[in-house]
């Protein structure tokens, strides 16, 4: 057939009807697929570890039944289930937070920690862990060191919460005043430098054991979160995720930049506060309980954009939640080195596995801008 005579000569144009009409079958299917993959990763992370437990036993335990070995039930319920739930929540939280920051600042390099949330948490933890060490290092008695419960889970989490919470308040109060998002980005950056300088001073004067405890916190881990802590962490993250999803429409408007968003009737300052607030809660809570987990928050939004060929947040927000959960679970499984008694630092795994994937995805893109909403 003569192409010239075709009524609509658009056949040579790459058409993505899915992305033009909002939700339709294809993205719906993709989201379901992503959710299923996340579920599979969740089950897998319960099954593998230093002890291999058959899947049907895990299902039985999860459904409230008994495993054929009592130890298996204990392992699943006491260790693996809270860890898997933590990984899932943390992965989703960091990815949504990263997406929000990338869109708000129109910057592909932005991530959950650009506003200094993790720096604040680090400073909080460093103060708790290292200050006592400084006292020791400057001539205090070693019995003092034993007196403080070293790296006590709750005190670490608490100091991280206080640290990131204070930064959150600071950022929010600045965000209410400044005109441009770029100012905030630079302030966050400067704040990061300041805190890491303070942390290095603390490290310099501290004792080795304390430094080690601090550094192992910076490696990140999903394993340290207890059921009791999850009772705080899970609701906070779910609230943050819900808040993030409520902002899908303003986020789409912000793709055009703040001026256009304003002209579309958006209350940019209020929306910015909402985005920063939910994003900071997500990043802050995760950092408080799991340490500063890098990479996921920056990488997952990029992966989703190129997977779904869209920058529509109505699709991206659920997609990054699912993919973030999946990748966090995956990283945790790999870090556990199944079949061995060893574990790797989580942050090393996320970056080692993630960076090549992102590089591959981005190089594959014909047009770089398509991968970045930047």
């Amino acid at each position: 057939m003569n192409r010239e005579n075709a009524p609509f000569a658009t056949s040579n144009i790459r058409v993505h009807p899915s992305l033009t009409r909002g939700f339709s079958v294809a993205p719906g299917l993709l989201l379901t697929g992503l959710a299923l993959v996340a579920l599979a990763a969740f089950m897998l992370s319960l099954a593998v570890g230093s002890v291999r437990i058959p899947l049907e036993e895990i299902v039985a335990v999860l459904l409230g039944g008994d495993a054929s070995k009592q130890a298996w039930a204990t392992i699943v319920l006491k260790f693996r289930l809270p860890k898997a739930l933590t990984a899932m929540l943390a992965g989703a939280a960091l990815s949504v937070s990263g997406l929000q920051m990338q869109t708000l600042f129109r910057n592909p390099l932005a991530g959950p920690f650009v506003l200094g949330i993790s720096s604040g948490a680090s400073l909080g933890v460093a103060l708790t862990v290292l200050l006592a060490g400084v006292a020791v290092g400057l001539g205090g008695s070693t019995t003092l060191l034993a007196g403080i419960s070293l790296a006590g889970d709750t005190s670490l989490a608490l100091s991280a919460i206080i640290g990131s919470g204070l930064v959150l308040l600071l950022v929010m109060s600045v965000a209410r005043k400044v005109q441009s998002g770029m100012t905030l980005l630079i302030l966050g950056l400067m704040f990061g430098y300041t805190t890491s300088a303070l942390v290095s001073v603390l490290i310099y004067f501290s004792v080795v054991e304390r430094i080690q405890a601090y550094i192992s916190w910076t490696f990140g881990s999903f394993g340290g979160v207890t059921w009791r802590q999850l009772q705080v962490m899970a609701p906070a993250i779910i609230i943050g995720l819900a808040g993030g999803h409520l902002l899908m429409k303003p986020l789409n408007a912000l793709l055009l930049g703040e001026t256009y968003a304003l002209s579309l009737g958006l209350n940019v300052r209020r929306v910015r506060l909402g985005i920063i607030g939910s994003s900071a809660i997500l990043a802050g809570v995760v950092t408080a309980f799991c340490g500063p987990i890098g990479f996921l928050g920056i990488a997952v939004p990029h992966l989703c954009r190129s997977l779904l060929h869209t920058s529509d947040h109505r699709l991206l927000l659920p997609a990054v939640s699912f993919l973030g959960a999946t990748l966090a679970l995956g990283a945790d499984i790999v870090a556990g080195l199944p079949g061995s008694q060893l574990t790797l630092p989580l942050n090393a795994v996320t970056a080692l596995l993630g960076a090549p994937v992102v590089i591959w995805v981005i190089l594959r893109q014909r047009n770089l801008r398509q991968a970045f909403a930047g």
Binding site: T20, N252, Y260, S263, L264, Q370
Partner: protein, 371 residues
């Protein structure tokens, strides 16, 4: 006809406030109005405050003093959503929305009308399709914006502004990055949109010629903050252009509505010939600094505006006529006659000082090369 206005200002003062110092006033005492269905072009030298005026009218920055009414309501009394349903903008900033189709971009214009998820109703979808159709960009609906040319993206951005169904559209230099045919197209489109939808369209531009041809009215904003408001022709005749754009070494040519650099005429030539060829021959001769007089069709000698008084009598005659498959330009000057195949050859010859130069061979070569 009812003298209705959609946008009106009174004693408006625009500029920037500064902390602990006096504000920078860019223009003051501006009182003007926009009527539905008209296309108004805002012209002015760089730095006169065209963008500031646009931003102030769009409530992107507050006025220093004075009032603005939109639809007979004070601009600052409108809620953000109400404003967005009455006024839309197209900015010069490059829009980078990532992986988004033309349709997706235009549908962002429905934001003031949609619910919290931004999902389009059937009516919204119709309006988006209509907006794309209105800018003749239906085929861009399924293309990624990153893959579009500047002209295509500009059309989609105009469609996005249209999808807001505004009473007033403000466009900041919508033709700035476009090639000439695209400029003509976009300007023509905006004029049609204004009259078909009874919208008021205000656009800023540096494109004098297009503005003169398309605008219902012009606003000239001078560097001193004066605003001249009137039909393009009025502003040409009353000298507003000279006042706004007066600059050292540049003059405004009232007869042709364009600016020229001031230069000493280096001679006076008579021009014989008709039509398009004569028109462009005159342009070429003027470009290299000759004052040109032409035998008018009715027999009068119409003297084209000399920039500075030239020598009183013509020093030569150029005639242009059709020969074979092209034009041939004959020059009679200082007692000799030469023929040229192109205006390039003619102007090169004249620039090198006319007869006696060593360019004759080159000229002949050009002439023969074309035959």
């Amino acid at each position: 006809m009812k003298n209705e206005t959609v946008l009106r200002t009174k004693d408006l003062s625009i500029g920037y406030r500064r902390a602990r110092r006096a504000p920078v006033v860019i223009a003051s005492d501006l009182s003007f109005s926009l009527r539905p269905g008209e296309l108004v072009c805002l012209l002015g030298p760089n730095g006169a405050g065209k963008s500031t005026l646009m931003r102030t009218l769009a409530r992107l920055q507050p006025p220093l003093s004075g009032q603005i009414w939109l639809d007979d309501r004070p601009l600052d009394s409108l809620r953000p959503g109400q404003l967005a349903r009455r006024l839309s903008i197209v900015l010069t900033d490059r829009v980078d929305v990532g992986a988004m189709s033309g349709y997706g971009l235009v549908s962002l214009g429905r934001h003031p009308y949609t619910g919290w998820t931004g999902t389009l109703t059937e009516q919204d979808q119709e309006i988006v399709a209509w907006a794309l159709q209105a800018v003749r960009a239906r085929d861009l609906a399924d293309r990624y914006t990153v893959e579009m040319s500047d002209g295509e993206r500009q059309k989609v951005l105009i469609a996005r502004a249209l999808a807001q169904q505004p009473r007033v559209m403000l466009l900041d230099e919508p033709t700035a990055f476009l090639d000439l045919p695209r400029r003509v197209e976009v300007m023509d489109l905006l004029r049609q949109l204004a009259s078909e939808n009874s919208q008021a369209v205000l656009l800023s531009t540096h494109d004098l010629d297009l503005a003169l041809r398309n605008a219902d009215r012009l606003w000239l904003l001078s560097a001193e903050g004066e605003l001249f408001d009137g039909a393009p022709e009025d502003l040409i005749l009353n000298g507003a252009f000279e006042r706004v754009f007066s600059a050292e070494g540049v003059t405004f040519d009232r007869e042709r509505g364009s600016f020229h650099t001031r230069q000493e005429a280096c001679g006076r030539l008579r021009l014989e010939g008709d039509g398009v060829a004569a028109f462009w021959t005159r342009r070429a001769l003027e470009r290299i600094g000759y004052a040109v007089e032409k035998e008018g069709e009715n027999g009068d000698t119409a003297s084209y505006t000399p920039v500075l008084p030239p020598p009183q009598s013509a020093t030569g005659t150029v005639s242009v006529r059709l020969q074979d498959d092209g034009f041939i330009y004959n020059l009679e000057m200082e007692g000799r006659a030469d023929a040229f195949a192109t205006l390039n050859a003619l102007t090169t010859y004249l620039r090198r000082g006319g007869a006696g130069g060593e360019t004759d061979a080159q000229v002949d070569e050009d002439l023969y090369a074309r035959r």
